[in-house]
């Protein structure tokens, strides 16, 4: 089996404390190809599992018989809805999605059956042999019509509707600008396909190594569907090849376990890329009608918005995404009056759920487009208009909640626009719109510049009991950390070591493999929450260890524990019974004795939204501003993004290099949504489920990125650090589109921007 436990470099790691940029503990095996991703796992005698999926977006299953598949050589077993031993449905928030469709399929790619065979090709042939017949039904594909259409699911077509009312929404301003904006369906496009290896334990239980964002949540959903006590289902983190929200929902987990238990053999499942495109949820497509009211001098008076998100066939996390869209619909501005109607509906399109930015991305494109419209209408510079309305500490949000932490909106925007503008494009082909296609006429290429600002919540909201647990053990100068965080690439494994080294003054830190059997839940690697929540749990556990060591040292020295101070760099300082100075690291003071402590970190409680969308739903907020520079070929409608600069609120950068990596990577996904990334869905059918046709930015597409971190430590956060993963993705898209409008004069209202939108 795999063992991804990797000790960090021992000794001499002065660079390993909070605020430094030590190397990743998993970096060496990753560059050597030795790091075991979930799709790399192998077990003796294992079978390959594959999933039969619906080719129709909406159909009745008229006939389903797996017997012909079982008759093929090499095929070990097949399972359908009739073989599900526990709950028939699952889901992150509402259990509304069948493990296998039983009577009706509601989206293209919905799972109908699964098989296990001794070779991937045998499994593929087994799928082809399954006798299945469908009676196609009319698909409901228009989100705008879903609320009034006959229900396509027993839970109805409206997953959630929020009617937020703040101040006096009937107030009108001196000026008013209106617009309707659309966002297409974006894919997380993580490179590591959905994968896992299920191994039956011979006693009716199962172990599952899997690439996921939240082991314990998966464990609970899998156990429920298997009809097993959660203790008999043990999940272990397989190496995760990126996530970005797309691994919050269960994909192959239940299927692989059912096959493993049915066959009595280990079963591995790895999706191919086309299957991955229908095997996980996507970013919700959105249609948003906005009306902004302002005074003549540019003060926002009121915002009205009608937001419709297409949730696709099943609920996933839609109810939380739409709540984010509603809460952040007005952008990071002081808006005294608001009327926001936000609805997420069910359709026969692919299911949508979590993706980096989680509802804030869609509305940011709309509110920032509106701010530019307002600036043009008032004749005010777009940056100045935003600064005039920028949120700050203490301001009241449209939910009625006041910001109690930091809110450096103006600082972010000033930093983004302070970076130097790039020089004109050179003659190199890759510097021109259209790249190596050699299509642009340099004399006609136009440059444009745009800005945008966005924000969202950190951590889980709306009264959710958000926790993380960690255990720290110190002995012989080595600290061992157990925490079930899903390391998905974000670098928690690095930051956890830095925190422990800082608190305990040690050099060697070992992270135990993440699983559900040895430690409690760390919560999800989403909502930019792990540095805060699990970093907080690790810090707390380490401080408890430090307290134990201090007490032990005090006993040894015959002094009161209070006489020994724990310094910020993990040393115990004071005087011993003879009056001599004491100055040792916690790790040195511990010696070979073992000290162990566990801690559960909880953020302060939040509340649900009331019937008017009011409450105290959030813990903290994070902000970023972006400036984009583009060159556009106006004849062919081709865009080259030349530069993106940013000012980002980070609280405190615990690992500056990793923060930079999050900023650059997040901007890449924002640029992708602006100019190239869309899952094209036609009549409920996905038309481009491959990297040939769904384009993500390559190294040749990626603009120069210049970033400034705004460091204002956040009260209540470990070491003052805010999560940094999502903000780069929120407003970078809107900034690129603003730059395209500036370059072309075309009133672009939809992303991604396509060539035919510009010519």
């Amino acid at each position: 089996m795999t063992d991804v436990r990797t000790p960090t470099r021992r000794g001499g790691s002065a660079g390993g404390r909070v605020g430094d940029s030590p190397i990743r503990p998993d970096g060496t095996p990753k560059v050597q190809g030795r790091f075991a991703f979930a799709s790399d796992l192998h077990a003796e005698g294992m079978l390959w599992g594959r999933t039969l999926r619906s080719p129709h977006p909406h159909a009745r299953i008229a006939r389903l018989d797996v017997a012909p598949a079982l008759a093929l050589p090499g095929v070990a077993c097949a399972v359908t809805a009739a073989d599900v031993t526990g709950a028939a449905t699952y889901g992150l928030i509402a259990a509304d999605q069948p493990v296998f469709a039983a009577d009706v399929v509601r989206y293209e790619g919905e799972a109908v059956a699964a098989v296990a065979a001794d070779h991937p090709d045998a499994a593929r042939r087994a799928l082809e042999a399954i006798d299945v017949a469908y009676e196609p039904l009319d698909p409901l594909v228009d989100a705008g019509a879903a609320a009034g259409a006959p229900p396509i699911h027993p839970d109805g077509n409206v997953v959630r509707r929020i009617e937020l009312r703040h101040g006096d929404p009937s107030v009108w301003g001196d000026v008013l600008v209106e617009g309707t904006y659309e966002v297409g369906m974006q894919d997380q496009a993580f490179l590591g396909p959905e994968a896992g290896l299920a191994i039956p334990d011979g006693e009716g239980g199962v172990d599952l190594w899997v690439a996921t964002q939240w082991l314990h949540e998966d464990r609970d959903q899998v156990a429920a569907c298997l009809g097993l006590d959660p203790g008999r289902v043990r999940l272990h983190l397989g190496g995760v090849g990126g996530a970005f929200g797309g691994r919050e929902d269960v994909s192959m987990q239940v299927h692989a376990c059912l096959l493993a238990l049915a066959s009595g053999r280990p079963v591995k499942m790895t999706y191919l890329r086309d299957e991955s495109f229908v095997g996980h949820v996507h970013r919700h497509p959105a249609r948003m009608r906005y009306r902004h009211h302002a005074t003549w001098d540019g003060k926002l008076v009121a915002v009205e918005a009608e937001i419709v998100l297409d949730g696709g066939a099943y609920a996933s996390s839609s109810s939380a995404v739409v709540a984010n869209a509603a809460r952040f619909a007005c952008g990071p501005y002081r808006v005294p009056n608001a009327r926001i109607d936000a609805t997420v509906v069910r359709t026969n399109n692919p299911p949508c759920g979590a993706m980096r930015g989680f509802g804030a991305v869609q509305v940011c494109f709309a509110h920032e487009s509106q701010m530019d419209r307002l600036a043009a209408r008032l004749g005010i510079d777009p940056v100045e208009l935003r600064l005039k309305n920028a949120l700050g500490p203490g301001d009241v949000l449209p939910t009625g909640q006041a910001i109690t932490g930091t809110a450096p909106v103006a600082e972010c925007l000033r930093a983004a626009v302070a970076h130097p503008l790039p020089p004109p494009a050179g003659p190199g082909l890759l510097e021109r719109p259209g790249g190596a296609g050699r299509t642009d006429d340099a004399s006609r290429t136009r440059r444009g510049v745009g800005v945008a600002v966005g924000y969202k919540n950190l951590l889980y909201s709306e009264g959710f009991d958000d926790t993380s647990e960690a255990q720290v053990r110190l002995a012989g100068g080595v600290a061992t950390v157990a925490c079930a965080v899903a390391e998905v690439g974000q670098g928690f494994v690095t930051v956890a070591g830095q925190i422990v080294r800082t608190v305990l003054g040690c050099d060697a830190v070992v992270l135990e493999p993440a699983d559900t059997a040895s430690v409690g839940s760390a919560g999800s690697s989403s909502a930019s929450r792990q540095t805060w929540m699990s970093g907080g749990a690790v810090e707390r556990a380490a401080r408890l260890v430090a307290d134990q060591v201090r007490a032990a040292l005090a006993r040894r020295l015959g002094v009161a524990a209070e006489g020994l101070a724990l310094t910020a760099d993990g040393r115990l300082v004071g005087v011993d019974g003879a009056g001599a100075a004491v100055d040792v690291t916690v790790a040195e003071a511990a010696g070979d004795e073992a000290f162990v402590a566990s801690a559960v970190h909880r953020h302060r409680p939040t509340t649900a939204l009331d019937g008017r969308g009011q409450g105290e739903p959030d813990v903290s907020f994070v902000f970023a501003a972006h400036r984009a520079v583009v060159d556009v070929d106006p004849d062919l409608g081709l865009v080259r993004v030349v530069q993106v600069t940013t000012g980002q609120d980070v609280g405190r950068a615990l690992h500056p290099t990793q923060v930079t990596g999050q900023i650059e990577g997040g901007i890449a996904q924002g640029v992708g949504l602006a100019v190239m990334e869309e899952i094209v869905v036609d009549g409920g059918l996905v038309r481009n489920p491959s990297f040939t046709d769904y384009l993500i930015p390559t190294i040749a597409d990626m603009p120069e990125v210049l970033a400034t971190c705004i460091e204002q430590p956040e009260p209540g956060a470990p070491f003052g650090a805010k999560g940094v993963g999502e903000p780069p993705t929120i407003s970078s898209t809107a900034a690129v589109v603003a730059a395209i409008r500036d370059a072309t004069g075309v009133d672009v209202t939809r992303v991604p921007v396509r060539p035919w939108d510009l010519v």
Partner: protein, 182 residues
């Protein structure tokens, strides 16, 4: 129900053949004639370093060298590589290190591998082996590439995490180090 578990999927295993991978002759048994080089490397020879992000030649995560030419292993027939020298990321090691050394540690990294780790060019790491092979290939052919040459050469390797900034920084570092050593 009888199980016919011979690992060939009942599709008829072809004759056994031999591949030279990372300088070592490796016997391949039980493979089907249509098996890709990627499948054989990962699932028959226990070399999962080449990755399976798309299996259709679009992402570069399965980059390997066949007789010194950079290819996507997912698009190569395994049997067609008989008689060729196949180099995977597992065969990349610092000069003097023994390829495939089970105890490979940080000191055994190539300059490209070390730079990717130290510059922050690794996040989830799924694209990383492909980049390691592709960067080595580029710098072997073009010792001092300009920024646009680097971007063009690596445009076949997708990364979804980093936005490429730290990967470019790593390449720049290696180019500088090698120039200084010349």
């Amino acid at each position: 129900m009888t199980l016919a578990i011979d690992g060939s999927g009942g599709g008829g295993a072809g004759a056994a053949y031999e591949l030279t991978v990372n300088g070592t002759a490796r016997r391949v048994e039980g493979a089907r004639p249509g098996d890709s080089l990627l499948h054989v490397l990962r699932d028959r020879l226990g070399l999962p370093g080449a990755k399976n992000a798309c299996e259709q030649g679009e992402c570069g995560s399965c980059s390997v060298l066949v007789d010194g030419v950079l290819v996507c292993a997912c698009l190569e027939l395994a049997e067609a590589a008989v008689g060729c020298d196949v180099t995977t990321v597992e065969g990349m090691a610092a000069p003097g290190a023994e390829p495939g050394d089970a105890a490979l540690g940080g000191d055994m990294l190539t300059d490209v591998q070390r730079a990717l780790v130290e510059a922050g060019g690794v996040q989830c790491g799924f694209c990383t082996p492909g980049f390691v092979v592709a960067v080595h290939d580029l710098l072997a052919r073009v010792p001092d590439p300009g920024p646009l040459e680097v971007r063009e050469a690596l445009a076949g390797n997708l990364c979804r995490c980093t936005g490429y900034g730290r990967i470019l920084a790593a390449v720049e570092r290696v180019v500088g180090e090698r120039a200084a050593a010349r």
